[in-house]
Symmetry: C2
Subunit: 491 residues, 2 copies
């Protein structure tokens, strides 16, 4: 099976697609740009959801659900939102089909035209702030800390499974606050929740920072983001958290009575991550044998493969595996006993690698005699014989080790592929020859940002939040700059 | 607060709406027929989802996700499906907005018209069976046991919060099988999962049976359902499970190589429950003081209310409540300490009743002295003083008692409101004067079913599956009948 995967070095993009399709994560659908998330892919997404949801609740948020459709006129209310956004979207114009009088199936009933078209939500700020107007009268109604798990639609011309699809699944937090300080604090808190999740659960190191004007969310005052580096040296934005100021409150007239008896507009944030994280997860760790998953997000953490020549051997081996499996299950480890008799162990081994099960345990008649098991780890592709007596403890530790190792490896890769450059020539050379994150001085203007993007296809991924100030000169204009920013070509 | 709820006897429909809105379950939205599910309502829905999802997984199902949009032509492929369904739906015809040249916001870009219109899924049989064609080649690929949690849209002219909304949330199971027997078994298994959930978790007794031709799902050979009786004597269909035969496999050309080397069409089932269950939950148990929730689905099971006259008393009472709360939390009971100092205990008590917290515990200075607590149960509105020492055990038992009592009460109500009638006159009289489930003989024809519906607005809710045969004569035509069927007016 694994042989069918295109090598990463040969064709990175095809390698990615091969893994997504062949590991059974997702599939193309009959609808342009929309994907089918298959059970194995969805099981990973469920683990992502479960953990993020717990983190949102631990930070005081509640879930709710708002309509899929947004009246067209809502998009015109926040000027920069409509300018920078939402032009490419799915538009509902009719509400009834009828039988074709010519007998060719069904047609749209021209009499069932909507008075005002409905937009399938590309993001929900407008419909939510229109609702918040009814929920907020005084400071006592604040803060509102709400998250929504939903599907959204952005009409994309060029799509890639998980990374860019017309419909995708995501969560969007929408919070309302009394003060600017509180809203800014919330924005920062949530980008750090995302960073924690990416690093501790996905094993994916990320940079945290703010977006430049050219990359900011339409309608936001500030966009904070996390950025990860993929194995082809391209950056991937993995999550964003927006400080929206009073923009949406003004657009939808959401005022509140303040503690001191005045009226003021409410302060807003929004933040989201999507099924794009699935694409990041695949690209961050996988290899030419298939998917590599961090144990904390792997639907199956340990797969058992029996080795046998006859029914008698199978019976003995199976009995032992069932016992060991039960011991791991009892520790909360998710296991699979691959006892199919239609395929050989070699096929099963390749499938374990393709699907990225963190640990594979093979047990044969010799192991029964010796009280051992062959334990293979997916991340390093190394094997070791372990005594069955210590197997549970060994596996528990190994899962932690693999989680750590995957992160460390990705971090080393990022460090090796982060470059500081001081001239535009060097900038272009590094981008073309090495890719990666390129740290350079920039004069802070939209013009320079746009010029660099046009000439090199590199964008400012973020202005780092770690605050390392360093005087320098813009690589393009030579104007003064107070700190380096992070450029990269990006997904 | 509670006073604002219309009495159930005065206006049942308004009573229902008052509870949904005032308990904070849902709200109307700016989009006709679409609702906003508010945090408290969504927290109940999450509990429903969590439990059903566990039951689906325990019966071997996996989750996946299919596109929101379905090409229009797909609906014409299964003849009875398109005839009985899907005419009233949201139709996407364009994929881009543009700035209005006259400066009035945005308009639909006439150049961005889709070649084939897309329907926002009203149910997903068509897109899923179109996908299964690629996944199924041989009997080795079967069964496929997939469930999807999703939003669906059916354009409704008259909507009611939770009960009938244009967009709603649901789960839809779609399974593919080698044999008819296996598919029928699956259909039955899932209707029993629904019945178990309704009775053990929602505390709502249900009848299980099959639908008559007039009420069957468009495209199904047989529709199994669970039906519950609401407090106004109307029936509510709470879940359906369809045996689809080979209809969709034939429509989408899904064949497989059988074990004996032939080709055959795949056998199908589909089954679903929706946010309609929220409406059923409200109507099954609530009273004029507000919501009554079964403890197993209550987001807050126990609310503590402090009673005090001054800060000193508050400090003492709070300290004890925090200790007791921690002990309940440790048992996995979800608790709330309502320590707001802006409202009086009486207001809090009313709110506890409105929101349906199963248990309310009030503790004041006298309780601290005596080591007692005042425990009020929502279902019976009775109170008792309990020693703090035994409080945890008492609460654990009481939650079970309330769960049982709610079910028993609803069952008694149903039994009292189930009538056997033997003439059409009596049938109409019972319907008009009492409502409820009316058991009557029917000749099994579509004509009689339609006539009764037209004349009385009562429909056949189901043909009971318990198999109690009883010879009789149709109340309308006098033709022979082998068993009584269940009629009712329904939501």
């Amino acid at each position: 099976m694994a042989k069918e995967i295109t090598s990463k070095n040969e064709n990175y993009s095809q390698w990615y697609n091969d893994i997504v399709i062949k590991a059974g994560l997702a599939d193309y659908s009959a609808v342009r740009g929309c994907m089918v998330i298959k059970p194995y892919g969805y099981a990973i997404w469920e683990k992502i959801q479960r953990q993020l949801d717990a983190m949102f609740k631990a930070t005081g948020h509640q879930n709710a659900y708002f309509p899929l459709f947004i009246p067209k006129s809502f998009f015109s209310k926040e000027a920069s939102h409509v300018e920078g956004f939402a032009k490419e979207c799915a538009i509902v114009t009719h509400y009834r089909l009828k039988n074709d009088p010519n007998g060719n199936g069904v047609i749209v009933d021209p009499e069932a035209e909507l008075e005002e078209e409905l937009i399938v939500r590309p993001t929900s700020e407008t419909i939510i702030w229109n609702t918040y107007r009814n929920w907020i009268q005084s400071y006592r109604d604040l803060p509102i800390l709400i998250n929504q798990w939903a599907n959204v639609v952005r009409w994309e011309m060029r799509t890639r499974l998980f990374l860019r699809t017309t419909e995708f699944l995501w969560q969007e937090g929408h919070t309302a606050h009394e003060t600017m300080e509180e809203a800014v604090e919330e924005t920062l808190k949530m980008v750090h929740v995302y960073a924690d999740f990416a690093e501790k659960w996905m094993g994916m190191p990320v940079l945290i920072g703010t977006k430049s004007e050219g990359e900011r969310f339409a309608g936001a005052i500030d966009t904070y983001c996390i950025e990860a580096l993929m194995q082809d040296g391209k950056a991937l934005q993995a999550g964003t958290s927006h400080f929206l100021g009073q923009n949406f409150a003004k657009a939808f007239d959401v005022k509140f009575a303040t503690k001191d008896g005045n009226m003021d507009y409410v302060w807003a944030t929004s933040w989201g991550v999507s099924t794009r994280l699935m694409g990041a997860l695949v690209m961050a760790h996988s290899d030419d044998n298939g998917l590599v998953l961090p144990p904390k997000l792997a639907p199956i953490q340990v797969a058992f493969v029996p080795i046998y020549k006859n029914d008698d051997e199978l019976a003995k081996v199976s009995q032992r595996i069932v016992e060991l499996k039960a011991m791991l299950d009892a520790k909360g480890i998710s296991t699979l006993f691959d006892n199919r008799d239609t395929v050989k162990p070699g096929f099963k081994f390749a499938e374990c690698e393709l699907k990225g099960y963190p640990i594979r345990i093979a047990i044969g008649p010799k192991d029964i005699e010796k009280g051992t098991a062959e334990v293979a780890r997916r991340d390093t592709l190394t094997k070791e014989f372990v005594s069955q007596e210590n197997l549970v403890e060994y596996v528990v530790n190994l899962l932690d080790n693999i989680q750590d190792n995957i992160y460390r490896k990705a971090l080393e890769f990022r460090e090796k592929n982060t470059f500081s450059v001081d001239s535009y020539e060097e900038f272009k050379k590094v981008l073309d020859e090495k890719g990666g994150f390129v740290m350079a001085h920039w004069d802070g203007t939209r013009e320079t940002e746009d010029l660099i993007k046009e000439e090199t296809k590199a964008t400012i991924r973020l202005i780092p939040n770690d605050g390392k100030k360093e005087e320098g000169k813009c690589i393009v204009t030579g104007k003064p700059s107070a700190q380096r920013v992070v450029f990269a070509r990006a997904y």
